[in-house]
């Protein structure tokens, strides 16, 4: 077993850490990451990324393709090691993947051999949650994402949106300290997509979780975010931190509300300008 040990496999234990005071939930300080490709120069994917996320906040990483959003998220998840810099959750350094930082991917990750109920119970089974409690909590979260009727179904009978709802319920039922999502609705059609966004908002209200989410959909970012970290590329950095203050700290339930709010149009225009300034270069050469 020892022969297979690697740093990234190390499980971070929350017990030995200082109690949370007014420290931010998640803090990244000067995080950089280079990838070494065989027979080539190292690719500097992100450089000196710093930002913080507060408790119960929805923080969105937004930016053009290739700016390193996924890389940042994967480092927070502990799936990738930073080349330099510090990542802290609740004041504890992140040293590897852990149940505290559950991730929902863009690709469907339902376990085909388990029913919806078993899928949602899966994380709790890994963590030895007693059976009765497991079943109850799974039932609660399956209801929260509106899949009660499908609890006994296998994933192959579910649509794409339903599979993502299973993944979200599975992660939430495992009670992570922070929920990580990498373009979770990226593979869905427009209609399902905004339904999922509204579902996310209702979940945020009832489940009280901190969320770090990646998207390149501007409207989605503005609708969901309490805080937007806009990233630029080559190398990836945080270009601008945007607080959608026109929402006045309110969480919206329906996307229509967004359109009506004064300030929405301005913010969307501003971000579009940033995107254009960032994204144009691909087409220039």
């Amino acid at each position: 077993m020892n022969m297979l040990d690697e740093d990234r496999m190390a499980q971070s234990s929350p017990s030995a850490c200082p109690p949370p005071t007014d420290t931010p939930k998640l803090r990244l300080a000067n995080v950089s990451k280079s990838f070494h490709v065989p027979r080539g120069e190292a690719i500097e994917a992100i450089k000196d990324v710093s930002f913080t996320t507060l408790e119960n906040e929805v923080c969105v990483l937004l930016g053009p393709s290739g700016c390193g959003k996924s890389t940042v998220l994967r480092m927070v998840a502990g799936l990738e090691q930073p080349s330099s810099g510090e990542l802290m959750l609740d004041g504890c350094p992140i040293t590897g993947p852990s149940q505290e930082r559950g991730m929902v991917f863009q690709a469907y990750t339902s376990f085909d051999w388990l029913t919806v109920q078993q899928n949602v119970e899966y994380g709790m089974r890994l963590n030895h949650v007693p059976k009765a409690q497991r079943r109850e909590r799974a039932r609660h979260f399956i209801e929260l994402v509106g899949l009660s009727r499908f609890a006994g179904a296998y994933p192959r009978h579910l649509s794409g949106g339903m599979k993502q709802r299973v993944a979200i319920a599975r992660t939430l039922a495992n009670e992570p300290a922070i929920l990580l999502m990498d373009e979770p609705f990226g593979a869905l059609d427009a209609q399902t997509r905004w339904q999922m966004q509204e579902l996310m908002m209702s979940i945020v209200e009832s489940a009280n979780t901190t969320i770090l989410m990646v998207t390149h959909d501007i409207e989605e970012a503005i609708f969901l975010a309490d805080r937007i970290e806009f990233m630029s590329r080559h190398p990836g950095r945080v270009h601008e931190e945007i607080i959608p203050s026109f929402k006045q700290g309110r969480r919206l339930r329906h996307k229509e509300e967004l359109i009506g709010l004064a300030g929405y149009g301005d913010l969307e225009r501003h971000i579009l300008h940033l995107m254009r300034a960032q994204g144009g270069e691909d087409f220039e050469h």
């Binding site: 022969m3 998840a77 993947p97 051999w113």
Partner: protein
């Protein structure tokens, strides 16, 4: 005559891209090719196109097959052959499945075993027959060893490849749910790769039949292959062909068995395409 479509207004043609045929038609067409095959064979014999000493009629072959079973204790030969196949295949699987899964899961294990395993794959198993005979004499052991050698290295490689193709997102999801390595191995990697392992076993069992016949023809006094070699000495072509027929039937039966197992063990898979 309607082929694919029931509505007569819509064109129905024999050969159409991307158009499925009904189950009834598939069965009928599949049976037809055999009827034609045996028909031509029977005709060739009846009309004296071939020497019946070398090519007996299909009816003759079937009659001989019945005789072999009913009067000449052929069942024990068949039983011995099946036992050899299953015995050596079982041993090969108990080694190859865990090893293949570990090699596909952990790069260190792969780096250690793979140079060895892939080198053996390029050595045709029959090349070992002389040495196996020298080492183990003429008992069961050389036959079992040949079958084992012929199957194990391919099986390991197939299982390793399937295991390394288990989607990274599934493993990473389990990691971020707090899974330890061995938990993830048992609860994600193994169930994800199990259907493919069964498919690999089905494919390799067909190869095992090949080596069985080789082993029994070269160095055995029992089993289907040995019976065929005995028949050759007495110019009993009908018995040789009966042997070929039974090998074919058994191979098919095992294939059907595995497909059935696949459906029963993995009902959650979408199996339409298989």
């Amino acid at each position: 005559m309607e082929v694919a479509s029931k509505s007569s207004a819509y064109r129905a043609r024999w050969f159409e891209f991307l158009t499925p045929t009904s189950k009834r038609w598939r069965l009928l067409l599949g049976a037809t090719v055999w009827v034609i095959f045996f028909g031509l064979w029977e005709m060739a014999v009846l009309w004296g196109w071939v020497n019946t000493l070398l090519v007996p009629s299909p009816l003759e072959v079937i009659r001989t097959l019945y005789e072999l079973f009913a009067e000449r204790g052929f069942l024990s030969d068949v039983g011995i052959s099946i036992a050899r196949i299953l015995g050596s295949f079982l041993v090969a699987c108990t080694l190859a499945i865990p090893l293949g899964i570990l090699m596909g899961s952990f790069k260190t294990v792969e780096a250690f075993f793979n140079p060895f395993v892939s080198a053996w794959r390029y050595l045709p198993a029959p090349a070992f027959i002389p040495i196996l005979l020298m080492w183990f004499g003429t008992g069961e052991l050389p036959k079992l060893a040949l079958l084992f050698l012929g199957v194990i290295f391919f099986l390991i490689t197939l299982i390793m490849d399937h295991t390394s193709q288990v989607r990274a997102e599934l493993i990473e999801t389990a990691m971020t749910l707090g899974g330890q390595r061995w938990q993830i191995l048992w609860t994600v990697v193994v169930p994800a790769v199990l259907p493919n392992i069964l498919t690999s076993m089905r494919q390799m069992l067909a190869i095992a039949w090949t080596y069985l016949v080789i082993a029994e023809i070269i160095a055995s006094t029992t089993g289907i292959g040995a019976m065929m070699m005995r028949a050759r000495r007495f110019l009993h072509t009908d018995e040789i062909m009966a042997g070929i027929l039974i090998i074919g039937i058994l191979g098919l039966a095992f294939d059907v068995l595995f497909r059935w197992l696949q459906r029963v063990l993995f009902p959650y898979l979408d199996q339409e395409g298989h």
